[in-house]
C-alpha cells in the first residue's frame, strides 16, 4: 500500500515536472527574458510621407527582410522575413497603398499592403535565362486604366498589373544574346527602351510599345573598345559607361533610334590619374559621379553630350538618388566625412553652386563611414522645403538625420551576429550599493507593500499595473556589477560588419560597441571578415583590479589562406588593447587549457600549412607550453575531400626566420571516407568549457554505470553524395547516413552506425557522454532524432564496495587513450515532427542539474525538450525501479509540449544559433538565441530548486514573523498573568 502511494506521488511529481517544466504565466513574460527586433543592413528604402497618416519608410535589407519603419521614432510597424535564398532585388510603392518587391533573381513579384504588411498578391514570373533583375514603376503609364509595373528578370520583360499581379504582356529576350542593363521609360511617352550589351562590344536598344509589348524598333551599334559592364542613365536618351580598361568614359546617345558614342579620357579631368574608375550607381539627372581611387568627381553632361567637371571631393562620401520635389526641381544628397562629423549637403542637380541645405551632424565615431543615403522631402511650417536623410553606416546601423540632428538610430549590425562569448561584469565595490539602498529605502518599502497587496489580492487594477511595471524594469537586473546568482553578465558579440558589441544580459542594452579598427577595410587588408571571439583573459585572482579581455580573430579575405588579424579588446571599457596583423593564415583556433601568470589563456592558431603558432608570444607561455608539448593533439576535417586527420606537434618551424612560437606538425592518423559513398555533412564536438558533475550514473536497482567522458570525442555524420542535397532528390535505396564517434587523439572509431534510407541535413549536439542528432528518414517520410550514449566498461568492475574499501579500484589511475577502449554504446531513435535549424543544450555551473535540449525550430522558435525523452534505456514497459528512476515509457515520437517553448509567444526571425551560459546559481542557465532578432532568457531545467522565485513576498514573510513574535509575546504575557492569578488563588 505504502509502495503504491509512493509510486503515485512520484508519478504525480514527474508529470507535474514533465508537462510544465518551462511554462510561464502570462505576467511573467518579459520578466526574465528580453527580445529585440532588427532588420539588417538596409539595401533599398522608399519613403511614404505624402498622405497625412503615419509617416513611414519601407526598407529591404541584406537579411531578406522587408520592413516598414516609423519615421518619427524608428520603430518597426511591420516586418516580413523572406526565405534565405529569396533576396530582395527591388522595392517600390504603387498606387500609394501597395509595396512591391521583386525577389529571387527577378522571378517572384509580391505586393504587400502598406499599412499592415499583409501580402496582397504574388506572381511567379517565368523565365529561362539567369540575368540581372530590374524593377521599374513608371509614374503615369497605364494600360486599360491599370498602372503597370515593369519587371525584367530571367531574360524576360514582364508588364504586370499593379492591382492583381496579372501579367499583361511579356517579351522574351532570352533568345537574343543581349545582357539587359537598364529599362528606360521617358515621361509622357508610351515607349520603353531596353538597353543592354551583346558580348562586351555591342550596344543594343529595343524600343517597345508599353501598351502591348510589341517591338517597335531594334537598333544596335558596335563599340570596338568594349564596355566594362555597368551603364548609368543620365537623362532619358543619354547613358554613361566605362570602356573595358575603365579609363575612358563613354557617353551613349540613342535618340531617334540612332546610337552614337563619345569617348572622354578620365585623365582629361584628373591629372596624374592612375588606376581604375568606377561610376557610382546613383541616379542623378544630368550629373553623374565617378570614383577614381579615393577621389569622387561629379561630371555634368550637357545637352550636346559634352562632359564637364563640376566638383571634386576628396573625403569618403556617399551620394543618394535624385529626388524631384517641386515643379521639375530635382535634388540629391551628398554625405561626406569632415573632421569626424558627417556633413550632409543637398544640391540641385541643375545648379551645382547653390546648396539647398548644409548640415553637420555628429553620429559618433564607432559607426564608421556612410555607405548609403536615401532622402525624402517635407514641407516645413514656414512652407519651405525641408529634407530628411536616412543613412546606412559601415557598421550597418541606420540613422535618420533631420534639422542637423540624429532623430533616431537603429543598431542593425546586431542582425548579423557571427560569434558570441561571455564576460563577467565588474565586482561590486563596497560602499556603493549601501548608499543606493538607503536612498531608495522608501521606494523599496513601497514596492514591497504593493507586492504584499498583490499577494493578498487587495490590489486595485492600477496597483497591479504598477507592480507589473516595477517587475519589468527593476533596476536590480540591469546593474553594471556582478550579482550573487551570476545572472548579470556581458554578452560580447561579433557582427559581420566587424563591430563588437557588449550586451547586458539583464535588459539587452548595448553597454559599449567598438568598430574594430583591425577589421576595417584598409590598403593591406582588402576584404576583412571577423571569424570568432574567444575569452582571452579572465582574471580570478585579481578580479578587483584587472579587466577581462577577449580575443577577436579575423582574416583579410574570403579564402582561408588569407592572412589573419588578431585584436584584443577590454570587455569593461570596450577599448582595443592591442592588435596584430599576422603573416600567417588561420585555419583553426584552439584555446588550450593553460593560462599564464596573468591568467591569459594560451591559444594555438593552426595555419593552412599545418603550422601551429602559439599566442601570447611570451617566454612564459613557451615555458608552460613546452611542459605539455607532447600532450597536445588536434584534428582537422577536410569536408570537401572526405578526410579527417589527426596531428601532433613536432618541433619548431624550419624557415628563413627563426620563430620559437611556431611549430611543425606531423600526421598521426587519418580516416579516408570513400568518396563514392560517403560525404562529411556534419561534425560536432563537446563544448570545451562544459562541466560534468559525476562520471557515475546510478541506474535502476542501485546499479551504477560509468559514462565515457572524454574531451576528445568527435561526432561525424556522412551521407551518400547523392543524398546530400535537398530532401526528395534521392530515393531511400540510394540514401544512407553513417554516424561515427571518433577519438581525436588516436583516431579510433569508437562507434560506427548506419541509418539506411536516411539523409541530412544533420543537426547535432554533443554533451557529456551523449550525442543527439536530427535527420530525415526517407522511408518513414519523417524527421527523426537519435541519441547515442557511450559508457566506459573499464571501470565497470568498481561496483564492488569491498574493492573500494581496500583500494583495489582503478578510479584514480590515469587514463591513457592509447589503451584499447572498452566502451559500450547504446542508441535509440524517435520521430520528431519539426524540422530543425539548430540544436543546443543547457549548461549549468556544476553540471548537476538535468539537461534540456534547446531546439531551434523551423518556425524560428526555441523549444526545450527534456533529455530524458532521448534516453536509450527507454522501453515500452519500464520496470518499477526504472519508473522510479524517471525513465519514460517508450513512444515512437518525441512530444512537443506547447508550454515548453522557451520563446513563448515570440519569434527569433532567421534563427541561426543558440548559446547557453551557466549562471552561478546551479539550477539556472542563460539561453541566448540569435538570428535577425535577439532573445535571451533564463531557464531552470529542473526548476529553481536552490533559490526563491522573484515574486516571493519577503514582506509577507516578515509580517508573518512579526505576527508570530507578537503572538508569542502576547501569549507569554497572558500565561504570566494567569500563573500569577493561580498563585494568588
Amino acid at each position: 500500500m505504502a509502495m503504491a502511494i509512493r509510486v503515485f506521488l512520484l508519478s504525480l511529481l514527474f508529470f507535474s515536472l514533465a508537462d510544465h517544466s518551462f511554462s510561464l504565466y502570462e505576467d511573467q513574460a518579459g520578466l526574465m527574458d528580453w527580445h529585440q527586433q532588427y532588420i539588417g543592413k538596409v539595401k533599398h528604402a522608399v519613403f511614404h510621407t505624402q498622405k497625412t497618416g503615419k509617416k513611414r519608410v519601407v526598407v529591404s535589407t541584406e537579411e531578406n527582410v522587408l520592413a516598414s519603419l516609423d519615421l518619427r521614432h524608428g520603430q518597426i510597424f511591420w516586418r516580413r522575413v523572406l526565405g534565405a535564398n529569396d533576396a530582395i532585388d527591388g522595392v517600390d510603392i504603387v498606387l500609394g497603398k501597395y509595396v512591391i518587391t521583386l525577389s529571387s533573381e527577378g522571378s517572384i513579384l509580391r505586393a504587400w499592403s502598406l499599412p499592415d504588411g499583409q501580402m496582397v498578391w504574388e506572381s511567379f514570373l517565368q523565365g529561362s535565362k539567369p540575368s540581372k533583375s530590374l524593377l521599374s514603376v513608371p509614374i503615369n503609364l497605364t494600360v486599360d486604366k491599370d498602372n503597370v509595373i515593369l519587371v525584367f528578370g530571367k531574360g524576360c520583360l514582364h508588364a504586370v498589373s499593379s492591382i492583381d499581379g496579372m501579367v499583361l504582356w511579356k517579351k522574351d529576350f532570352s533568345a537574343e544574346s543581349i545582357e539587359v542593363q537598364q529599362i528606360i521609360q521617358p515621361l509622357g511617352n508610351d515607349k520603353i527602351y531596353i538597353v543592354g550589351f551583346v558580348g562586351s562590344s555591342q550596344f543594343d536598344v529595343y524600343q517597345i510599345n508599353a501598351k502591348n509589348g510589341e517591338l517597335i524598333k531594334h537598333t544596335s551599334a558596335a563599340f570596338p573598345d568594349g564596355f566594362s559592364g555597368e551603364v548609368l542613365s543620365v537623362s532619358s536618351d543619354m547613358l554613361v559607361s566605362l570602356d573595358s580598361t575603365k579609363s575612358i568614359l563613354v557617353t551613349i546617345n540613342f535618340q531617334n533610334g540612332e546610337i552614337s558614342f563619345k569617348k572622354t579620357h578620365i585623365s582629361d579631368f584628373v591629372e596624374d590619374h592612375s588606376g581604375i574608375a568606377d561610376i557610382l550607381p546613383s541616379k542623378l539627372s544630368g550629373v553623374f559621379a565617378v570614383k577614381i581611387n579615393t577621389l569622387l568627381v561629379f561630371i555634368r553632361v550637357t545637352a550636346e553630350g559634352v562632359l564637364e567637371v563640376v566638383d571634386k571631393i576628396n573625403n569618403a562620401a556617399a551620394v543618394s538618388d535624385a529626388l524631384s520635389f517641386s515643379e521639375g526641381q530635382q535634388a540629391f544628397a551628398l554625405v561626406e566625412h569632415v573632421d569626424g562629423k558627417v556633413l550632409l549637403t543637398l544640391k540641385y542637380s541643375h545648379d551645382w553652386n547653390n546648396d539647398l541645405l548644409k548640415e553637420s551632424v555628429e553620429v559618433g565615431h564607432q559607426r564608421g563611414l556612410v555607405h548609403k543615403v536615401f532622402i525624402n522631402n517635407y514641407i516645413r511650417t514656414d512652407r519651405s522645403y525641408g529634407f530628411r536623410a536616412l543613412i546606412v553606416m559601415e557598421d550597418h546601423s541606420l540613422l535618420l538625420l533631420q534639422q542637423g540632428a540624429t532623430v533616431w538610430s537603429r543598431e542593425e549590425g546586431l542582425a548579423s551576429i557571427v560569434d558570441v562569448t561571455v564576460s563577467e561584469l565588474p565586482v561590486e565595490k563596497a560602499g556603493v550599493s549601501v548608499a543606493k539602498v538607503e536612498q531608495n529605502l522608501f521606494e523599496w518599502l513601497k514596492g514591497h507593500i504593493l507586492k504584499l497587496k498583490g499577494t493578498l489580492m487587495l490590489a486595485s487594477s492600477e496597483d497591479i499595473a504598477a507592480i507589473q511595471g516595477m517587475r519589468l524594469k527593476s533596476s536590480e537586473k540591469s546593474k553594471m556589477t556582478r550579482d550573487h546568482n551570476g545572472f548579470r553578465k556581458l554578452l560580447i558579440v561579433l557582427t559581420r560588419a566587424g563591430k563588437l558589441y557588449a550586451l547586458h544580459t539583464g535588459d539587452g542594452r548595448v553597454v559599449w560597441s567598438l568598430l574594430l579598427p583591425s577589421l576595417r577595410k584598409s590598403g593591406s587588408c582588402e576584404h576583412p571578415t571577423g571569424l570568432s571571439v574567444y575569452q582571452w583573459q579572465v582574471p580570478h585572482h585579481h578580479a578587483m583590479d584587472e579587466n577581462p579581455s577577449v580575443l577577436v580573430v579575423g582574416r583579410c579575405g574570403p579564402n582561408s589562406d588569407a592572412s589573419a588579424v588578431l585584436s584584443f579588446v577590454d570587455t569593461y571599457t570596450g577599448k582595443e588593447l592591442n592588435s596584430l596583423g599576422l603573416v600567417h593564415s588561420v585555419a583553426q583556433i584552439i584555446p588550450l587549457p593553460f593560462t599564464d601568470s596573468t591568467e591569459q589563456r594560451l591559444h594555438l592558431l593552426v595555419d593552412t600549412d599545418k603550422h601551429a603558432h602559439l599566442y601570447p608570444r611570451t617566454s612564459e607561455a613557451i615555458d608552460i607550453f613546452q611542459r605539455e608539448f607532447s600532450n597536445i593533439y588536434w584534428y582537422s576535417v577536410e569536408a570537401d575531400n572526405g578526410i579527417i586527420r589527426g596531428h601532433v606537434l613536432n618541433r619548431n618551424c624550419i624557415g628563413e626566420v627563426v620563430d620559437e612560437f611556431c611549430f611543425d606538425s606531423r600526421e598521426l592518423w587519418s580516416i579516408v571516407f570513400p568518396s563514392e559513398s560517403e560525404k562529411i555533412i556534419a561534425t560536432v564536438t563537446r563544448k570545451l568549457n562544459e562541466v560534468v558533475h559525476t562520471q557515475a550514473k546510478v541506474v535502476a536497482d542501485q546499479d551504477v554505470t560509468y559514462k565515457y567522458i572524454s574531451k576528445n570525442l568527435l561526432f561525424v555524420a556522412t551521407a551518400t553524395p547523392k543524398a546530400s542535397g535537398e530532401i526528395g532528390t534521392a530515393t531511400p535505396e540510394e540514401a544512407s547516413l553513417v554516424v561515427y564517434l571518433i577519438d581525436t587523439v588516436t583516431g579510433r572509431i569508437l562507434h560506427r552506425m548506419a541509418h539506411y534510407g536516411s539523409q541530412g541535413p544533420v543537426h547535432a549536439v554533443f554533451s557529456e557522454n551523449w550525442v543527439v542528432y536530427h535527420y530525415f528518414n526517407l522511408r518513414a517520410h519523417r524527421y527523426e532524432m537519435s541519441v547515442i550514449e557511450i559508457y566506459d566498461q573499464s571501470r565497470a568492475d568498481n561496483k564492488d564496495v569491498w574493492k573500494l574499501v581496500f583500494g583495489k579500484h582503478n578510479l584514480t589511475s590515469p587514463i591513457s587513450l592509447f589503451s584499447r577502449p572498452e566502451v559500450i554504446v547504446k542508441s535509440q531513435s524517435y520521430y520528431f515532427t519539426h524540422s530543425v535549424k539548430t540544436i543546443a543544450v543547457t549548461s549549468t555551473a556544476k553540471g548537476i542539474t538535468s539537461k534540456q535540449l534547446l531546439i531551434g525550430t523551423i518556425g524560428d522558435q526555441v523549444l526545450a525538450l527534456d533529455k530524458r525523452y532521448l534516453d536509450p534505456r527507454r522501453s515500452i514497459n519500464p520496470t518499477q525501479a526504472e519508473r522510479e528512476e524517471g525513465i519514460i515509457p517508450l513512444t515512437d515520437s518525441l512530444p512537443i509540449i506547447p508550454q515548453s517553448y522557451v520563446t513563448h509567444a515570440l519569434k527569433v526571425e532567421n534563427l541561426r544559433g543558440i548559446v547557453t551560459v551557466p549562471a552561478k546559481l546551479e539550477s539556472t542557465t542563460l539561453a541566448f538565441a540569435y538570428g535577425v532578432d535577439l532573445f535571451l532568457t533564463r531557464m531552470a531545467p529542473s526548476r529553481t530548486y536552490d533559490s526563491l522565485t522573484e515574486d516571493f513576498s519577503y514582506a509577507l514573510l516578515l509580517i508573518t514573523i512579526v505576527a508570530l513574535i507578537a503572538a508569542i509575546f502576547v501569549t507569554w504575557v497572558l500565561s504570566e498573568r494567569k500563573e500569577l492569578q493561580d498563585k494568588w488563588r
Binding site: 592518423w669 583516431g747 589511475s813 592509447f818 584499447r820 514497459n877 520496470t879
Partner: protein, 298 residues
C-alpha cells in the same frame, strides 16, 4: 619466420555465435597453411561485444544459399601494411591476404583475412629501440582501397612505441571497412597502455598480431507501434515489481530505530555512573536496572 593470424568476418549471426563458442580468447599463432573451405576456426578475434556487433548488417540471404553462390565469384586480394618509425618514410612491414566475396546484389566484402607480419630487421630493431627511448610514435598505414592500392590515400594510424612491448610485441588492428574501401585502421596495444609509460624492451622481438575487421552496423529503427500492441501493454499484464530485500524495503524505518536503540543503550550505560554520585535517584534507577539482572539469570 612468419606468423599468420586468420580472421574471418562472419557472415551471419548463426555462424558468428558458433564461432564465439569455438574461438578461444588466446591469440593463435600459426604458420600452417589455410584450408580454403569456410573455416570457422579463426583466431585472434576477441569475444568482445564490439566484435559481435560488427558483422550484423549483412544482406538478407540465408547461409546455405550463400555457400553455393559465392564460390565462383570469390577472388583473392592482397594488400600490404607499411610502417614508419617516428618521422621516417614508410616501408613494407607485412601482407594482408583475404578473399573478396561478391554478393548477389553486387556488393563486395572481404572475408578470411590473414596477416603475415615481417619481423623487424636489425636496422628496424635499432630504430624501434630509439622510439622506445624517445617515447615516440610508431606509425603504420594501409591503402584506403584494397583493389586499387593505395586508393585515394593511405589510412594512417599511430601508437606510442612504448605501448607495444610485453613478452613479445603485441599489436592489435581494427580495420574499418566499407565494401572494398578501408575507412580507417586503429592500431595499438591489445590491452591497456598505462599512463606513465615505462621504458621496457620486449623479451622476444616477434609480433603477436590480432586483427579485427569491422563493418558498419545498422542503427536501431525508431519504434513503430500499432495501436493494439499499445493497448495490450497498457491494460494487459500487470508488471510485478521485483521482490526486494528486507533492508531495501525498510531501511528508512530501520535506521531511526537503530539510532533510538543506540541512544537508549548509551543512556543506559551512562546511568550507572551517574548513580554513584546521586543517592536520591536510587529508586528510579533501580526500576531501570530491573531487567538487566533478569537477563543474567537466564
Amino acid at each position: 619466420m612468419k606468423r599468420t593470424i586468420i580472421i574471418i568476418i562472419i557472415m551471419c549471426e548463426l555462424l558468428l555465435l558458433l564461432s564465439l563458442f569455438i574461438s578461444s580468447s588466446l591469440a593463435f599463432q600459426s604458420d600452417e597453411l589455410l584450408i580454403e573451405e569456410e573455416d570457422l576456426g579463426s583466431e585472434g578475434g576477441f569475444p568482445d561485444l564490439a566484435h559481435i556487433r560488427s558483422s550484423s548488417p549483412q544482406p538478407p540471404t540465408t547461409p546455405t544459399r550463400k555457400r553455393y553462390s559465392e564460390s565462383d565469384q570469390d577472388s583473392k586480394v592482397q594488400f600490404s601494411l607499411e610502417h614508419a618509425f617516428g618521422d621516417s618514410d614508410f616501408s613494407p612491414a607485412g601482407i594482408f591476404n583475404a578473399r573478396l566475396k561478391t554478393w548477389n546484389h553486387g556488393a563486395q566484402t572481404l572475408t578470411k583475412l590473414r596477416f603475415s607480419r615481417n619481423d623487424f630487421t636489425e636496422v628496424e630493431k635499432e630504430k624501434f629501440q630509439n622510439l622506445l627511448k624517445g617515447d615516440d610514435f610508431y606509425r603504420i598505414r594501409l591503402p584506403s582501397n584494397v583493389l586499387s592500392s593505395p586508393g585515394r590515400e593511405y589510412v594512417i594510424s599511430s601508437v606510442k612505441a612504448r605501448c607495444l612491448p610485453r613478452e613479445s610485441l603485441d599489436e592489435h588492428f581494427v580495420i574499418h571497412m566499407e565494401g572494398v574501401n578501408i575507412l580507417a585502421v586503429n592500431y595499438g596495444a591489445p590491452g591497456a597502455c598505462p599512463h606513465p609509460r615505462q621504458l621496457k624492451l620486449p623479451a622476444k622481438w616477434s609480433f603477436k598480431s590480432h586483427t579485427v575487421l569491422k563493418n558498419s552496423e545498422q542503427a536501431p529503427r525508431a519504434p513503430v507501434f500499432s495501436e493494439d500492441i499499445l493497448g495490450e501493454t497498457a491494460e494487459g499484464e500487470v508488471i510485478l515489481p521485483p521482490e526486494r530485500s528486507f533492508w531495501a524495503k525498510y531501511w528508512m524505518y530501520l535506521i531511526p530505530l537503530g539510532l533510538i536503540v543506540m541512544n537508549a543503550i548509551t543512556q543506559a550505560m551512562n546511568m550507572p555512573e551517574e548513580q554513584g554520585g546521586g543517592q536520591a535517584q536510587q529508586p528510579g534507577a533501580a526500576v531501570q536496572r530491573g531487567p538487566t539482572p533478569a537477563v543474567r539469570r537466564r
